[in-house]
């Protein structure tokens, strides 16, 4: 097969597959359900709805994409998430009506906007990776990469037994040096009051068991969450150094010492 024929074969066979695997069902007078061959996170086929009024078409996911994310623990409830969602939608020319992704077009521009809507659905599906549990492990990796990138010597995942006999796990420990004491680091993805209290308790219970001077730093994810001044004040009150993730560079020298 010549190169030109080969290229044509790839395009044609893909188009044939697309056509064979796309299903259209009429739901009401002017509403069509279009099942595409693309799969979502659960391996379910992505469906869109086409509402036809004369030559004007409205394409929508019927709210499925955002509802499904919410049902997987990924609510659009932080400024950062809303901003990511808005950027995805803007990029594909899609608007948000209540919870539904919507785009208006005509018969001529239908293929382009159908393609855009599907791409937006797929991109928003990927936002699942930003859900809190997933972000926790990503944030921990981010903190570790930050330590590595700045030549901060550390031991990962260090457990200590407190005065009470309880066991506490700290994410990183930086050993004692001539210039600085032993330092523990706790990465906090979601700095709530409850988590703050439990860290303060854990630290007070363990630091008395350490010989010599020892310090605790909490690295707080303030990109996905607002960190209230009460939380910062509470840490400082108990001589724990809070580091906002967005201000981490200020602490490089201190941690590398």
């Amino acid at each position: 097969m010549s190169e030109v024929l080969e290229a044509k074969f790839f395009i044609d066979s893909y188009l044939k597959w697309l056509k064979e695997n796309t299903d259209i069902k009429k739901l009401e007078n002017n509403v069509f359900e279009l099942t595409t061959p693309f799969l979502d996170r659960h391996n379910d086929y992505i469906q869109i709805y086409v509402v036809k009024e004369g030559d004007k078409l409205t394409l929508t996911d019927g709210g499925y994409t955002l509802n499904d994310l919410a049902m997987s623990g990924m609510e659009m409830n932080t400024e950062r998430r809303k901003q990511i969602l808005k950027t995805i939608l803007n990029g594909f020319g899609i608007s948000l009506e209540k919870e539904a992704l919507v785009v208006k077009c005509d018969l001529k521009t239908f293929p382009l906007y159908k393609h855009n809507l599907i791409q937006a659905i797929l991109a928003i599906n990927d936002m699942f990776m930003l859900s809190r549990q997933n972000v926790m492990s990503i944030f921990l990796e981010d903190v570790e990469n930050f330590l590595k990138a700045n030549n901060i010597r550390y031991v990962p995942g260090f457990s200590l037994i407190g005065k009470s006999g309880f066991n506490y796990r700290f994410d990183f420990v930086i050993p004692y040096s001539k210039n600085a004491p032993e330092r523990f680091i706790k990465a906090v993805n979601n700095p709530t009051k409850d988590i703050t209290k439990s860290i303060i308790f854990a630290w007070n219970d363990t630091k008395v068991t350490r010989t010599g001077e020892t310090k605790l730093y909490t690295i707080l994810n303030d990109e996905d969450n607002d960190v209230s001044s009460d939380i910062i004040r509470a840490f400082l009150e108990y001589e724990i150094t809070p580091i906002k993730w967005t201000e981490r560079k200020k602490y490089i020298d201190e941690l590398a010492a």
């Binding site: 739901l27 009401e28 509403v31 359900e33 099942t35 799969l39 979502d40 996170r41 659960h42 391996n43 379910d44 086929y45 992505i46 469906q47 709805y49 929508t60 019927g62 709210g63 499925y64 509802n67 049902m71 997987s72 623990g73 990924m74 919870e99 539904a100 699942f128 859900s131 809190r132 549990q133 997933n134």
Partner: protein, 130 residues
């Protein structure tokens, strides 16, 4: 389940219920009943998730068709069951599960779903069906 009585969600709404593990109360399980969706009134998804993000069992009634990683295609009534390495990407036809007697009866199916998920105290369901 923490709730003793629930009102079954109406069309275009959803409900999330808290489940307590008897052998470890710190484990968090949630059960969702989701009837959201503008165009399909018969559509309903029951979902059991662990630590808020991991779907263990997901029962789809009249939702979207599904394709398994091996290429097999399954119709709009199917049940996803967590599989190591795949998450909830594998699903099975609902007709293979005799414990679900009538998928059109959404309330009965909810009770059957709870039993399938080994939930001991299933709340009584008040129906305001539309």
């Amino acid at each position: 389940m923490l709730e003793k009585q629930i009102v079954f969600p109406m069309v275009d709404s959803s409900l999330t219920l808290n489940v307590v593990c008897l052998d470890n109360i710190s484990e968090r399980l949630l059960i969702d009943i989701n009837r959201k969706g503008t165009f399909k009134l018969t559509r309903c998804t029951y979902n059991e998730r662990y630590q808020t993000v991991i779907t263990l069992v997901r029962l789809d009634i009249d939702t979207k068709p599904h394709r398994n990683p091996d290429g097999t295609v399954i119709g709009p009534n199917h049940i996803h069951i967590y599989k190591e390495g795949y998450g909830d990407k594998w699903a099975y036809p609902l007709e293979d599960f005799k414990c679900f007697k009538n998928p059109k009866d959404l309330i009965q199916t909810f009770v059957e779903f709870c039993r399938f998920c080994n939930i001991i105290e299933i709340p009584t369901v008040q129906a305001v069906m539309t």
